[in-house]
Symmetry: D2
Subunit: 384 residues, 4 copies
C-alpha cells in the first residue's frame, strides 16, 4: 500500500530546504506526495512562492491562508493559532499516513500541533540545531511533538537524543538544501540576468565585475530594532561600492521594520548600487551566490549552502548563533563598522573550499527511502 506523505511548506526558505525530498517522495513508487501550501507561500508580498512550486511541477493538494497581519509578536501567535485550525481541516480532508514539517519557523508549529493532536505520525526535518530567537524554542518544542527526527548532522542527532528522544527514531540524513547546492556544481555559470528574470526594484546593475548578495531577516525577539539593524547593514554594504543584490526578508515579526528600513534608505540615499528582489528559484539563487563575492546578512544559507559551496559569508548578529558552521563564515556584530570589516575580510579570502557540514547532497533520496520503510508511530515517551 502506498503511503500518503503530507508535506507542509510555509515559506520560501522552507521550500528550498525540502525541494529535493519533495521530488523524491513524488517519484517514489511506494509514496504519494500530498503537498500543502500555507502562510507566506501564498502571499504576493513575499514573491508568491506557490507559483514557483507549481512551475517546478508539483501538484498542490491543499492551500490555506494562515497569516494574521501585524508583523509583530501578537500576529505571530495568532498566525500559529489560525494555522493550527487550518492544518487540522487539511489533514482531516487529506487523511495522510504521516506529516512532514520542516525546520523551525514559528508557523511550522501549527503543522506539528495538528498532526500530534490528531495522532498522525509527525516527521520533523532539521531538529537538534541551536540558534537564537523564537526559532530556538519552536524547534525543540517540535522535537518533543515529533515521532521521527530527520536531522542534518551528527551533532544535531546527539542533541535530539539527549533531549530524551529514542535513538532509533533519530536519523542523520543530511539537509536537502545541500542537494540543490550539489546539483548546481555541474553547471555553476551565471547563465541568466537576475534583474531581467526576477524584476524587483532599484538600479540596473552590472554584475560582471563582482557583486554582493544580501539577505537579512528580522530577529524576532528584538523586532523593534529590526529597522536599525537593517540600516547598519545597508550602510556597511553601500560603503563597499560593490553592486548589491538584495533579497527581501520573510514574513516575520519585524519584517515591517526591516522593510521600512530598506524603503527609508532608498528614499534618502542614492542607492545606485542596489537592486532589490523578492524571490528567485533556489537553483538560480545558489548560482547567484556561487558567482558572487560573498553573502552578507543573517540567513542560514550562509552556514548551510554556502559552506558546501565554499562561498564566503558575513554572518551578522545573533540569528544563527549556535548553529554549526564551516570555515567560510565570518561572524560579526550588527553595526556598520563590524559589518564593513567583515566584508573586507571576506573579500580578501582567496581559497574557496566546500565542506560537508550539513550533508553531502544526497539527502532528498535518503528521506524518501526512509519514509517508505520506517515504522510510523505516534506514541512515545521520554527516554529517561
Amino acid at each position: 500500500m502506498v503511503r500518503k506523505v503530507c508535506v507542509v511548506v510555509t515559506a520560501r526558505p522552507s521550500y528550498s530546504r525540502i525541494k529535493t525530498a519533495l521530488r523524491e517522495i513524488d517519484n517514489h513508487p511506494e509514496l504519494e506526495l500530498q503537498l500543502v501550501l500555507a502562510a507566506s507561500t501564498l502571499l504576493n508580498t513575499y514573491g508568491e512562492v506557490s507559483k514557483v512550486i507549481e512551475a517546478d511541477g508539483f501538484k498542490v493538494s491543499y492551500r490555506a491562508h494562515t497569516i494574521v497581519s501585524g508583523q509583530n509578536l501578537n500576529s505571530m501567535a495568532k498566525t500559529c493559532g489560525l494555522g493550527t485550525i487550518e492544518m487540522t481541516s487539511a489533514f482531516e480532508n487529506l487523511k495522510p499516513d504521516c506529516v512532514v514539517t520542516v525546520a523551525d519557523r514559528y508557523e511550522t508549529m501549527s503543522t506539528a500541533l495538528a498532526a500530534a493532536y490528531m495522532n498522525i505520525p509527525l516527521v520533523h526535518i532539521q531538529g537538534g540545531e541551536v540558534t537564537g530567537s523564537i526559532d530556538e524554542k519552536v524547534r525543540h518544542a517540535i522535537t518533543k511533538l515529533a515521532d521521527i527526527h530527520l536531522v542534518s548532522n551528527e551533532l544535531a542527532r546527539q542533541r535530539v537524543i539527549k533531549m530524551g528522544e529514542h535513538e532509533n527514531r533519530v536519523f542523520d540524513l543530511g539537509c536537502p538544501s545541500i542537494d540543490i547546492a550539489h546539483s548546481i556544481l555541474g553547471n555553476t555559470d551565471l547563465d541568466f540576468d537576475p534583474i531581467q528574470k526576477y524584476g524587483g526594484v532599484g538600479a540596473k546593475l552590472d554584475l560582471s565585475n563582482g557583486y554582493l548578495v544580501v539577505m537579512q531577516h528580522p530577529v524576532t525577539t528584538e523586532y523593534e530594532s529590526a529597522r536599525e539593524q537593517v540600516t547598519e547593514t545597508l550602510l556597511a554594504v553601500e560603503k563597499t561600492n560593490l553592486p548589491v543584490l538584495w533579497f527581501w526578508p520573510n514574513v516575520d515579526a519585524g519584517s515591517d521594520g526591516t522593510s521600512n528600513g530598506i524603503r527609508s534608505f532608498r528614499e534618502k540615499q542614492n542607492a545606485s548600487n542596489f537592486h532589490f528582489i523578492k524571490n528567485a528559484h533556489p537553483e538560480d539563487f545558489l548560482k547567484l551566490l556561487y558567482n558572487s563575492k560573498g553573502l552578507v546578512g543573517n540567513s542560514s544559507v550562509a552556514i548551510r549552502e554556502c559552506s558546501f559551496l565554499g562561498v564566503p559569508a558575513v554572518n551578522i548578529g545573533s540569528r544563527q548563533e549556535g548553529r554549526q558552521r564551516g570555515k567560510n563564515v565570518i561572524d560579526v556584530k550588527s553595526n556598520v563598522d563590524a559589518i564593513y570589516d567583515g566584508i573586507s575580510k571576506m573579500l580578501s579570502m582567496n581559497e574557496r573550499e566546500g565542506e560537508f557540514v550539513y550533508g553531502d547532497g544526497q539527502s532528498g533520496k535518503r528521506i524518501a527511502d526512509l519514509l517508505a520503510k520506517v515504522e510510523l508511530t505516534f506514541e512515545k515517551k521520554l527516554a529517561y
Copy 2:
C-alpha cells in the same frame, strides 16, 4: 513595582493543582493576579468551574470560550488553535509580566504558545513528569517553550535539566495540589452530604459504611476504546456491591465514549449503588477521598493527593504510566477481573501512611515567593 502574574486555568483538575498558588499570588504584596479562564472551566457540561472559582473569592480578569466541539482528536487540535488566538488577545489586553501555565492538558499548549511568541516570560508548573497519552508530548513541548520551570519533585527536576534546560531556571517547589490535601488534615470529617450538596444523578447512597470513589478519564490516544474501558471499570466496581461516588470525566477526545459508556450502563444495569457527580470543591473532593475505602480510576489524584493522604488507590491502565508513585497505588490493567482484583487488594490494605512524593503542602507559598523575585526572561538556548 508590582508584577502582573497571569495564570490561565482551563479545567477543573488544573484549578485544584494551582488553587493555593493563586491564593498566595493574590495575597502577595509584590504580585498582582490576572486570572484567565478558558476551555472547560466555562462549560456547564463539565460543572462550570468558573462559578466555583468565583465563589472561592477570585476575580476573573478574562474569559474565553475556546473548545471546538467534537470530543475527538480533530477537535482537540482545533481547540488548541482557537485557544492560541484567544490567549493572544487576552495577553495583548492584560499585558502581564509573566504567564503561568499548569501541567499538560492539551489546551495548555495554547497558553504556552501565545506567551512564547509574544516574548512574555512563561512559567510552567509540573513539567518533567512522564505519563502516557498526548499529555506526554504536550508536557515536554511546553518545557521547551517555557522559561521558568516549577516542578513537583527532584526526579522531575532532573528530567527537565536533562532535556536541555538550564539548572538555574528549574525549581522543585512541590505540587500545589498537595497543599489542599495538607489543609484538610486539620479536619478530615465528612461534614457534608455530597449528594445533597452537589446533586448529580443516580441512587441516593448511604455512605456511612464505606464507599468507593471513581474518576476515570478517556485515554486520548485510544479514544475509540474509551467506551469499552469505562464499561470494564463500571462492571468491576458494581461487582463490589459497595456504594460508588462517580465523578464525570473532563472534556477530552473520547469523553463522549466515556460518557456514553456510563449512560448506557445506567440504562441497562440496575446501578442502584451508583451516584454520578459532575464536580465538587477540591477540599470536599479530598475529604470524600479521605473517608472512602479508596479511589478507582486513572486520575492523577491517585498518585498525588492520595499518596500524600495515604488513601489507597487502584490505578487503571496506561494513563499514569511513568509518573512517580507511593505505596498507596495499585496498578492494574483495564479489564473487569484485574480491576476487581485490584479493588479487593485495596480493600484489604490496613495501614494508611502519607508520603511526600509531590511535595509537603507548602508549594503555593513557595511559588508566589519565587514569582516575586525570580528574574523574568524570555530568551534561552539549549544547555548543550
Copy 3:
C-alpha cells in the same frame, strides 16, 4: 462546461430540506455536486448525520468541524466566525461556480459570508419566511448577501422582492423538504420498528395503538428558559398517557437547557411512555409522523411536511411565529395546560387533508434545472 455547485449542509434538518435537490444536482449532466459537511452534521452527540448522508450515496467533498462548545449565545457567535474561516478554505480548495446555502440556522451565515466575500455567486434556499428568534435576523441578512433566491412559496417571494432584491433573481420553486413527504405517499406503511432501527434510550413502546411524536428545539433568544419550556412539554405530553417518540434537539444555544430538562425529567419521573431518539432517516421520520396521532413541539416540520401530509400538529411558543401554515397546525403557548389542551384538540381532529403551502413535491428537480441554466452573478444593488 459542467457547473460546480457547492452545497453546504450543517445540520440534520437542513439535510432533510435539501436532500432531493442534492440528488437531482448529483444526477444532472450539466452539474457537479460538491457536498460540504460542517457543524453538527459531524458531531456524534447529534446523531452524526454525515453517516446518514454517506449511506444515502452522497460523496462528501469536504468536512470541517466548526462548532465552538458552550451551547450558549457566545458560542453561536464564535461558531459562525470559525465556520467562516473554514468555509473560506473549503471554497478556496473546491473552487465552486456557485454556493448553495439552506435556510436560516445561525451557522449558515458562515457559508453565505465566505461565498459573498469571495465573489462566488450565492444561492439561498428558503428566504423570505418570517419566524421568531435569531433565525429571523440571519435569514434576511443572508437574503441581502445572496445573489439568487429560491423560495418556498409566493408570499416568501413577495417579501424577498420587497426587501430590495431584483424580481428576476427570485424564484418560487417550493421547498425540497416537501419532495420527501411527497415520495412517501407511495408507501406510508410503518414498515420498521423505530426503536429497533434507531436505538436511543427510554421505554420500549408499543406503537400499534397510536403515539405522539415530539420535537422541540430551544428558542435561542430565550435560552435560559429552555429547560423550563421543555419541562412544560414533557409534563403535558406525559399527561396524555400516549406512547411518545421524542427526537433530541439540534445544537443550539440552550440545547443544553433542553437536554438537561429532558434528563432531569427522566431521573425524576417514571417516563415509562417515553422513548428518546437522536436521529432518523428523513423518510422514516416522515412515516413515523404520518402514522402518528400528531406532532408536538416547535419544529418547522409541523408547518412544512405535516401540512403537506395532512398530519395534525401542536406548535408551541414563538419559534414558528410568522411562518405560513395550513389548517393542520394548532398554535399554543408554552405551558402545560395550553399544550395539553392543544393535544386534546389535535386528537379530536378527524379529517386529514394535505395542502400545498410549501410546494407540491417537485422542488429538487426544479432547483437542479434552474442551477444548470440560471445566470451566475455576484454583483447586485438594492432595487430601489
Copy 4:
C-alpha cells in the same frame, strides 16, 4: 444607570465618520464609552490609527488584531471570521448594553454578527445608502442584523424602512463625518505643512499655488484590475502638472494591486509632483481638502465632507455609484482621458457652495442623546 456603549472602530475612515459621536458618548453623563479597536486601526502599514485615536484622548477598552493577510478576497472572508471570534470575546469581557457598528466595510460584519448572536442590541450607523462593490451587500446585511438604525439622510431612512425595518427604529441623525467638516469652518487656514507633519514619501511639494488631493481605494469585486485602475488615475493626475498629495488606500482586497501600481509608477516615472502620505488627522485632512483645488479618486469623502464644504471632486468609477451626491461631484469613468477631463472641468468650477446632503454638522450630539434614551431591544421581525 449608565449605559455601556461599545463602539468598534476598524479603519481610518470609520474613525472619521464616528469621531464626534465618540466624543459625545464619552462626555455624556448617562453613557459609558467602550472603545474597541480592531483590523487596520492596529496595523502600522496603514498608519496605525490607534495612536491617533489615543492622542485624541480616547481610552481604548479592547484591542484585537483581526486581519488575515492576503489582501485578496479569501483573506477578506477569513478576516471577517477571525473578527467575529475576536469580537465575541471582546463583548463577553466588556458586557456592553449596546454595540455600535459604523458603515459598511467588510470587517464591520464581524461586529454586527457577534452582537446579533449574543443578543446585544446592535446600532448601525450609515445604513440605507447604495453603492457598488461588496460594501453594498455587507451594508444591507448589517441592516437586517441591526436593531437600531442611525442613517445619514431621509433617502437612506426610506430605504431602510422599505427593507422591512420598523419605522420607529430608524432615525435620520446625519453623518458624524460632517460634524468634523462643520468644525473646521471656524478656521479653514492651512496652518501646518502636511509633508513635515505627516512624513510619507515622494517629492517635497510647494502647495502655495494650489494642489490636488487624491484618495483611491481598490474596488474589491474588481480587485485584479486595481493596479490598472490606479495607474489610470496616476497618469491622469500627472498630466495636470499640479502638485499632488496622495493618500494611501485602506486594507482591502486589491490594495496590494493599488499599492503595487503606485510603487511601480514611482519607479518608472519621474513623479516629481507627487507626495504620498499614509494618514492624517481628520481635521487636517479636511483642511487639506478645503484648501486644495479638489479631490480626485473614489473615496466617499468626495460626496460627504466635500459636498458639505463645497470642495469640488472628481469621482472615479463605480465605487460610490448609487450614493446621494451634491453639485460638487463630477463622476467619471476609470480611464486617463475621462479622469483628466473631469479634473479640467473641476479646475474650471468657480463657485463653491456647501450643501446638507449628509447632515448639518450636529450628528454626534444627536447620536449620543439618542443612545442614552432609546429603548434597547434585540428582537425584531420583518415589518411585512
